[in-house]
Every structure is written in structure tokens, then in C-alpha cells.
């Protein structure tokens, strides 16, 4: 049930009606039923795995609360089970395929049977969310949840279960324990957020998709101009797709009276790569920081180890996105960029001249452009189906013949790119929401209608949300 389908629209309307007509104590049960149904539409395997994983996390949390002396083994067991489940469904097939390829080289074809496992929708997100829960409980940062139904409602919360944001227990469980009362202003703003997200996805991201596919999925000759447009189109598509999804998720949650955390803060305006990761997929980057980078040692064990920790963390980030070498390269590239940035900062951070320079606008503009270029370069690996396909696009970008003649076919993509760029340049922070709040109720109604009409007029052929595959 895609967020942009009629099914989801009617499902959401029904759940909103049920949520606000149910007594407050019944809200977790309503949400659990809705979440279970929502996940079931993607297949029973994913639902079964989620319910199983949630039971493991809940049991581990309860066990740690009752037997603090068993905290470590319980945590280790839960994490092994949760990550093992993810590894089995997401990486076993990849691993066996690579081993078979090695076996074929060594003269042992058919060394292992290919398991043919397909990762169910949502597995990457719910695994990380549940790991966050058990780690927080083990650290004593959050008390173990004792209400199983409420915990399942937290694990299956349908607005974010498929593609995030990855929610920490402190961000959602208290809201489920004391569901908010209806607030018309919050509801209205949530509808606006939802429609705005749909606009980003349906109008902008889907308009960019054909140009991206034309560059990345084709095998014929590719010119430099087309390759650059294709790469930037993907940079914009991914942002509109994923941040649009997040806005829809946060809007849907808001209409139900729940607040989900931010996941994007205009990331392509970042002036360095570290800042980019504080603005892009925020819930994942902070998850990686808190549960991978810091436990590895973070920056406490010397400069060289810090750089290695950054590389390792981002390699894991790459693998989390997909079991493919392209994802590993993407993660390592970001790890290397973060390490380089860190080394540069270590070198010049405290020099008075640099402090002044860093505050100047040319430095900021230059930093933003350089960061965007680096991110754009790395996205090529993220989007390409193979390293060979990534190499083809990169060769064209840097060594291909520069011909603008064929760019006419990218007209829609160029318009959408211009809109995204203008949006980044003109819309600062929460300007849209502030402007919305200043409108009269009637003008808000007109704005809703305008957004719905824009979806009607500009909807490109539908494409699935990109992050659903993770």
C-alpha cells in the first residue's frame, strides 16, 4: 500500500476516524490493528518477522528490567537475533552469490545453493528501531516498556514503519502512553505537511525519475552533459522522494495526534560533509552515531582510529542501504569524505585566520558547492545497478563528449531540478509552515485545494518510493 495510492488515502481517512472516535486508552489498539493491516498488505512474511522481532525486543527489555545482572547477555542475545534476522534476509543471498562466484573461479561451480531470500519491506527500518530500544533500555536511558500492546503499536506504527524516520523509544512511546487530545491547528498543519510531501514525491521526484532511468539504466553511449544532468536529477529525485515520504509520514502521524522527528533539514545547503549528515536522513545518521560510531570508540582513541571508525560506520551505513558492492563503495566514499573533513578540521580548526574565513560567505558558498558535488558524485554509486554501470556514468561525466543537443529530452527533469534548486535557495528552514500558520482558515482551504489540483495536473507516471527497497 504505497503512500501515494488511493488505498492508502482511504485507509488513512478510516484510521483517523477510528483514532479520534476511540477512547484514549484504546488508541494503541487502534494503531496496532491499523499497523498490522498496513504491513500485511506488503506480505505476511514481513509482518510475521516484525511481530517476532518486536516480541524479542520487548522480552529482552522486560528481562533487563527484572534481572539487571543479566543485562549484558540479554542485550547481546537480542541484538544478535535482531541483526541476525536482518542479515539472513538481506545479506545471505548476496553473500552466497559472491561465494558462488569465487567458487566458480576456483573450479567449484555450484558450491552452495542460492537461498533466494528476498528482504521483506520495512525490515531495515524496524530492525534499527528495535535495536535502538533494547540498547536504550540496557543503558538505563529508557525504562523497559511493560505494556506489550503499546510496544507493538510502537513497533508497527504505520506512518514510519516502512521507511522511517527511525524512532527512538523516547520519541514515540510516551505519546502512545498518553495520546494527545485533538487539536485542530495541529491537524490542519499536518494536512499541509502531508500534501506538501505528496507534492515533492508525486510532482517533483516522479518527474525526475525518467531522466534518471534514462541515464543510469541505459547501456548505449552517454555524453557528459546528459550524465551530469542525470546525476543531479538523481540527487534531487532522491531528496524529493525521501523527504517527501518523510513529510507524508510526519503529516499522517500528526493527523493522528503524534509527532515524528525531523529527518531532513535542507541537506544540500550543507557547507561540509559532516553537516550534510546532520541534515540528511537524520534519524539514521544519529542512530549510526549512537549505536555504531561511539561504541566503536568514536573520537576518543586518537586521530587515526577516529578516521577508521568513520570509515567503518559509513561502510555499515552503505550495507544497511543494500547488499551490493555499489552500496559499500558509496558508504566508504562518505566515510573517506568524513575522515578527510575531520582531518582538515583537526589541522586548522583553532587557527584564528581560519575561524574568520569559515564565517565568511564565500567560504560557505564554496563549501556548499563542494559538498554538493561530492555528494552528487557518491550518489552515482548509490543509484547505479552495478559498479560497471556506475563507472559508465562517471566516465561520461568526466570524460564523455559534451553535447547539449540531446538535453531536450530532459526538459521535465530540468524544470523539476530548477524547482528543487529554487526551493533550496528560497525556502529557509520552516518558512512554509510559518507562512501556513499565518493564513486564515479559508485561505488554508484554498491552499489545500491548490496542492491537490497540482497533484492532479502534474502527477507524473507513478514510481515506487525509493527508500521502500531498503
Amino acid at each position: 500500500m504505497a503512500f501515494t495510492s488511493y488505498s492508502y488515502l482511504y485507509f488513512l481517512l478510516l484510521v483517523i476516524l477510528l483514532r479520534w472516535s476511540a477512547p484514549r486508552r484504546a488508541v494503541p489498539a487502534v494503531l496496532l490493528a491499523a499497523g498490522t493491516f498496513f504491513l500485511w498488505t506488503f506480505g505476511t512474511l514481513g509482518l510475521a518477522l516484525l511481530l517476532g522481532a518486536a516480541t524479542v525486543a520487548f522480552g529482552a527489555g522486560l528481562g533487563m528490567a527484572r534481572r539487571p545482572d543479566l543485562r549484558r547477555p540479554l542485550l547481546a542475545s537480542a541484538v544478535v537475533l535482531l541483526i541476525g534476522n536482518l542479515a539472513l534476509f538481506k545479506y545471505a543471498d548476496f553473500l552466497v552469490r559472491e561465494l558462488r562466484a569465487l567458487g566458480a573461479i576456483a573450479g567449484l561451480p555450484g558450491l552452495l545453493p542460492q537461498p533466494g531470500l528476498v528482504a521483506p519491506v520495512a525490515i531495515s527500518f524496524f530492525t534499527f528501531q528495535l535495536v535502538a530500544y533494547v540498547v536504550e533500555v540496557s543503558r538505563g536511558a529508557w525504562p523497559a516498556e511493560r505494556d506489550f500492546l503499546r510496544f507493538l503499536a510502537y513497533a508497527t506504527f504505520f506512518p514510519n514503519v516502512v521507511s522511517g524516520p527511525i524512532v527512538r523509544p523516547a520519541e514515540l512511546l510516551p505519546q502512545l502512553a498518553r495520546p494527545a487530545r485533538f487539536d485542530a491547528e495541529r491537524f490542519s498543519a499536518s494536512v499541509f505537511l502531508f500534501l506538501g510531501g505528496a507534492f515533492k514525491k508525486v510532482v517533483l521526484a516522479d518527474a525526475l525519475a525518467p531522466a534518471v532511468g534514462g541515464v543510469f539504466d541505459a547501456t548505449g553511449p552517454l555524453g557528459a552533459a546528459a550524465a551530469w544532468v542525470g546525476a543531479f536529477a538523481f540527487t534531487a529525485q532522491l531528496y524529493c522522494d525521501f523527504s517527501g515520504y518523510t513529510d507524508m509520514a510526519r503529516g499522517a502521524a500528526g493527523m493522528l495526534g503524534f509527532d515524528l522527528p525531523l529527518n531532513f533539514r535542507l541537506p544540500y545547503l550543507s557547507t561540509n560533509i559532516a553537516e550534510f549528515w546532520r541534515r540528511w536522513h537524520i534519524s539514521l545518521s544519529f542512530w549510526l552515531r549512537d549505536y555504531v560510531y561511539i561504541p566503536l570508540g568514536g573520537s576518543r582513541r586518537g586521530r587515526l582510529r577516529t578516521y577508521l571508525h568513520l570509515l567503518a560506520t559509513m561502510a555499515i551505513a552503505g550495507l544497511w542501504h543494500g547488499a551490493a558492492w555499489t552500496m559499500v563503495v558509496w558508504g566508504l566514499l562518505h566515510g573517506a569524505l568524513l575522515a578527510l573533513h575531520r582531518a582538515f578540521r583537526d589541522l586548522v580548526a583553532n587557527r584564528p585566520g581560519f575561524v574568520r574565513l569559515r564565517a565568511s560567505w564565500p567560504w560557505k558558498v564554496g563549501g556548499a558547492l563542494l559538498t554538493l558535488l561530492c555528494v552528487n558524485f557518491a550518489w552515482v554509486f548509490f543509484r547505479a545497478a552495478s559498479l560497471r554501470a556506475a563507472g559508465r556514468v562517471l566516465r561520461a561525466m568526466f570524460a564523455g563528449p559534451f553535447a547539449v543537443a540531446g538535453l531536450a529530452e530532459f526538459r521535465s527533469a530540468l524544470v523539476a531540478l530548477a524547482v528543487v534548486a529554487a526551493g533550496h535557495a528560497l525556502v529557509a528552514g520552516d518558512a512554509p509552515m510559518r507562512a501556513y500558520r499565518a493564513l486564515t482558515p479559508a485561505l488554508r482551504g484554498l491552499l489545500w485545494a491548490a496542492l491537490i489540483l497540482a497533484l492532479f495536473w502534474f502527477a507524473a507516471p507513478p514510481a515506487a518510493f525509493y527508500y521502500v527497497m531498503f
Binding site: 520519541e171 485542530a184 491547528e185 498543519a189 510526519r250 533539514r265 512554509p432 489540483l453
Partner: protein, 368 residues
Amino acid sequence: MTAEGRTATGEGGQGDTTSPAAAAERPGRALDLLVTVLVCLAVLAGLDVAFRTSALRGALDRENHYRLRPIEYAKLERPPDVVFIGDSRTLHALDPAAAEEALAEAGLSLSAYNLGLSGAPPMAQLALAGLALSRRPPPRVVLLFVSPYMVSTRIEPTLSRESLHTLYAWRDLPWMVAAGARVEDILDVFTSNLFRALAYRGRLVRLVFERQWPGPPAVMGEKGFQALGRVPPGVQAERARSRANGYRTELSRPAAAVGGEMLGYLDAALRRLREAGVAVAVVNTTSASALLEIYGPDSIYDEYLARVRAVCAARGVPFHDHLRNPVTTDADFTDGDHMNRDGARKYTRFVVREVVLPLLGVEPRPAR
């Protein structure tokens, strides 16, 4: 990845759009929200009503077979007694005039109508059955024409799916549910009937952005029948070979299989017609000789026949296999499966004699 920036909620900076919860700092009045919702709905409903009653909608209806079919049918002075439903193979093969002539020869003064539509599989036939039943009294006989291409999983019913909201009216929704239609398709039809402009979305977008103005009115033919002219034998043979080559991959296993979705629609159409008291039969469409060879054991043809027969048997509906029939030859086709005017005349008379008269309980007279 640094330890800067404390929480995932973006403390110390604003997001692309702030949290809706921030808006709750100023608790809102329910009345304000109601006004917002009503203004939005009024604008959308107003625009939709304006479109429904516009000349533009009329022009768009006239240019399109799918849209014009229900309009033409509603305009008929007297509802027909015998209706033929199927795809283009039916549209060009069942001549109502020839049918009426054959019925008159049997002593029956009945009218006939061809409700065939290009590319209409059972997914569309269920709506066409509803259209046939929309007039009072309903037809006495309805024949549904099917072919293996309609159920092959190799042929994505994308076009039919996109046309659902064009053909299906409110009255058809319960029958879509009975057919086991996809939830998304049912909701698409529901929403498009609620806001009619949605059913014209693709066309309106092409009109505005590609300046594709409404075309000339579609040719609907005499009583729905569209006659095709005769073509030289060489041309017919070449076209038939070409179609056979194209169809082969669409019917060959293992790439192709018999999909259950269309059979669900067929079953619902039969049930719907039977419940309305209409005499129904299902007919397997006829083809020129070049196509016969692709229905071999490696194709889905035998399974298709068996599954359709089973659906008919379950509903107590007679099934007639006209793939090989004694009246048509290659000279009666313009290609592999579309008949010319002469072929249609011969074949229609055959259909009346073999299928319609028995359904009406009339003993057919020997063929002239």
C-alpha cells in the same frame, strides 16, 4: 559522522518544514478546521461540477470510443433484445443487421446491438454487461466473446486498468467487489465517480501541456458494429502471419500463464447477467488459419479453454468454441482475427443460428 548535533529531532535548527506539533502552540479551533475543509471541498467540487457540465467534457466524450459507448447506448430509442459484448474481434465480427435478419427468418422480430470495444477483456466486459442492463427492459440475450489473449499473464492489462474509471459507474462497484477486483482499482473507480474530472486526468493533462485538442467524433458504426473492408488475400495472409508471430510469445509457456483476474471478472459478468434474468452464452472467438498453429500444446490455449469452460459450467452458462467453425475462411478476415464485412455477415448468421436461437428456445431452421 560527528558527535555534534544532539538529537534526531534537529535541535538547534529547523527542518525542511517544522513539526505540526509546533503549530499546536496555538491551540486551534475546530470551526477553523471545518472552514478549511469545507473551502477545499467546495473548490474541488465546484471545479468538478463545472467540468461535468462543460462543452469540453462533451467534446472529450465524443472523440473516445470508451466514453461514447455508454452515451450512444443511452440514446437508443428502444433497448436491444440481443447484445454482443467483446473486444475488437467482436466489434468487427457481429453485425446487428445480419443478426436481425437471421432472427426475422426464424420468425422473431428482435433488435440486436454490438457493444464490442477495442481491447476490452472481461475486465471491461463486466462494465459493458452493466451498461447492457442499464436500459429497461434488459436484453433477452447477451453473448460474451472471449479469447486466450484476454487471460494471458504476458499481456499486462494496464490499458484496461487505466480505462476502468472511464467505463465503470457507481452501479458497477458491487460487481467489481464480486469479481475480486484489486482494492486499488475499486477505489480508483469510486474516487473517479466522486470527482469525474479524475477519469479524464490523462487526457486533460495532454490537452493543457501538449495542446492536444479534442479530436473528431469517434466512428461508432451502425448499431455499434464497425465494418471493415475486404483486403487482398496476400495482404491478409501477411498480416495474419505477423499477428501470429506477435501472439506466439504472449501465449507460450512458461513465460505466459492463465491469470485468474480476468476469469474473476468473467464470472462476475455471467452472474450479473444471469441474476438479471438474461440468457447468456460465452463464445470462444474465431481466427484465421495462420493463428491456429500457435494454439499448440506449448501454449496456454488448452488451459484457457478448460478454465473458461469451468467458469461457465459453474454458472450454468453454455460455452461455444468457435475457433474452428464451418462458415468462415481466411478470405473473411482482414488479418488474423478481425473479420471483413462479408465475413461478419456470414459469421453473425451462424452465431444467431447456433447460439442465440437455442438461448431463446427457438429451434433453428436449416441453414440456407
